[in-house]
Amino acid sequence: MLRQQRVYLALFVLHFVLIITISCRDIVWLVAHKLTILPAPFRAAAEKLEPIAAGVLGDKLSTPNPFRRALLTYLHIAGIDRGYGYFAPNVPAGYKLVFELHYPDGRVEYELPGVSSAAAGLRVATLLDEIGRSRSDPLREYMVKTLAASVWREHPGVIKIRAVFGSLNLPRAEEFERGKRESYDFLYAYDFSRAEEPAKAENH
């Protein structure tokens, strides 16, 4: 084997070890968090495997560690920073965000976070999923607040915006046949006004 080919082989092995490790880590995470149909013994094994995958990917190193940073940079620039479990193991719940726009004359209008094109619409759905899945209250509130600000710029006469965030309940096929339709479960509500800082009004 030529020297150049050996170098390519080494890079090939490194690249695919990373891809396989990331993909395995994602699947192990799903199993460990009881999101799959696998029984308990698999979950126990997955919990043991999780730290190994994390170790290979440098997750245990401190954030400023140069090796960790170099590795993360490579993963991002090669597009291999995440696994391939799209719509898996199950299709997750969707989310909806509705803004109640309160005008000085008491009028109330309803608005959804909107964009011009269907392609950008898919990205808004991704954003709502991120908000819904976030475990950090301040992060979730920040994102909803930023979205509310974008609506506010479109409607400068509004004095208060109430943002209501909910998860989507989809009927099963049999339930749909019996007349059940999609519904929403209330998750969070935030009130925003011009004068004061936003305050979380309610959550479930």
């Binding site: 597009g79 193991p89 094109s117 808004v124 994102m143």
Partner: protein, 309 residues
């Protein structure tokens, strides 16, 4: 040991023509054009700075900086542009036009390498700065453009090659980069299939139903879909099996055509029924470039010039 080494070399560095690379370049060029044009009206709105736009790029870029300050982002381009007196909006427009230009150049094959690098860089910046609004299509575009810019461009179908009459490329290197793409696709489908098999909803068809009726993917009315409810369990199982067995059947010349057609048909169906046109297109491009060329040839068969009759 020497025999294994030779086998490995033969697998990783097979001599290849550059048809696959031409397909990848043109396909990804079209993908970049479609991506850019589809976001034309919302580009500045999606990627604007704090206090403007939909969600802004400030938070994703800040989170990215804590992970690694070296990952490209739109903030770099904007900082550069503002230093020479351009506004943020102008800088974002330049980035959009730059990507459109790179996509066009890739399609016709002019400045192939530079265009691939430009398209990869600007798209990566947008995908990373987008953060919360990035989804699968961005991942696969990054993967495809990353391999394209590293591959031995230009291919013989490009204008670059016709005008500049460059020496032909190392066929073993061409074969190596095609193998990289092929192996990566096998891993993508295998792990995607494994993850699906672990969910109960793919075995009873409920995931297919949920995926098709969930906004914003609900292009087909559920009243129509419900008539096909008996097909959902079959469809779910077929998708799982198709994906998980892809790394086995795509290599065998006898089954490669069937698997390639089935996988492409699956992506066409995803595009048409769920409105994920960009996602469908990039997956078809990657599959066709990786496994399309040479599809009609039997094992050991080579293309030879027939004698004139």
């Amino acid at each position: 040991m020497a025999r294994w080494r030779e086998r490995l070399r033969a697998f990783l560095f097979p001599p290849e023509a550059d048809l696959w690379l031409g397909l990848l370049r043109i396909g990804l060029g079209l993908q970049v054009l479609f991506y850019t044009l589809s976001l034309r009206a919302d580009w500045n709105y999606l990627f604007a700075g704090p206090g403007e736009g939909l969600i802004g790029r400030a938070l994703p870029e800040a989170l990215l900086s804590t992970e690694s300050p070296l990952v490209p982002r739109l903030g770099w381009l904007i900082m550069l542009a503002t230093r020479i007196g351009c506004s943020e909006s102008t800088a974002l427009s330049i980035a959009w036009w730059g990507m459109l230009f790179a996509g066009g150049c890739l399609v016709i094959g002019i400045f192939s390498r530079a265009s691939a690098i430009l398209a990869w860089f600007v798209h990566l910046c947008a995908a990373e700065s987008g953060g919360f609004i990035s989804y699968g299509v961005d991942n696969f575009m990054t993967i495809g453009l990353f391999y394209l810019m590293l591959s031995p461009l230009p291919d013989r179908y490009s204008l670059d090659q016709r005008w500049r009459k460059l020496p032909s490329k190392n066929q073993r290197l061409l074969g190596f980069f095609r193998r990289v793409l092929q192996v990566h696709l096998c891993l993508i489908y295998f792990f995607g299939g494994v993850a699906k098999c672990l969910g109960s909803g793919w075995w009873d068809g409920s995931n297919l139903w949920r995926a098709l009726i969930q906004p914003p993917f609900n292009l087909i009315a559920p009243e129509i879909l419900i008539r096909l409810k008996y097909l959902f369990p079959v469809g779910g199982i077929v998708i799982c099996l198709l994906e998980i067995s892809y790394p086995i059947f795509i290599w065998d010349r006898r089954t490669r055509g069937i698997w390639l057609i089935c996988i492409c048909a699956m992506h066409v169906a995803i595009g048409l029924t769920m409105g994920m046109y960009l996602f469908a297109f990039v997956m078809i491009v990657l599959n066709v470039a990786a496994f399309g060329p040479g599809l009609g040839l039997a094992r050991g068969e080579k293309l030879v010039r027939a004698p004139a009759s």
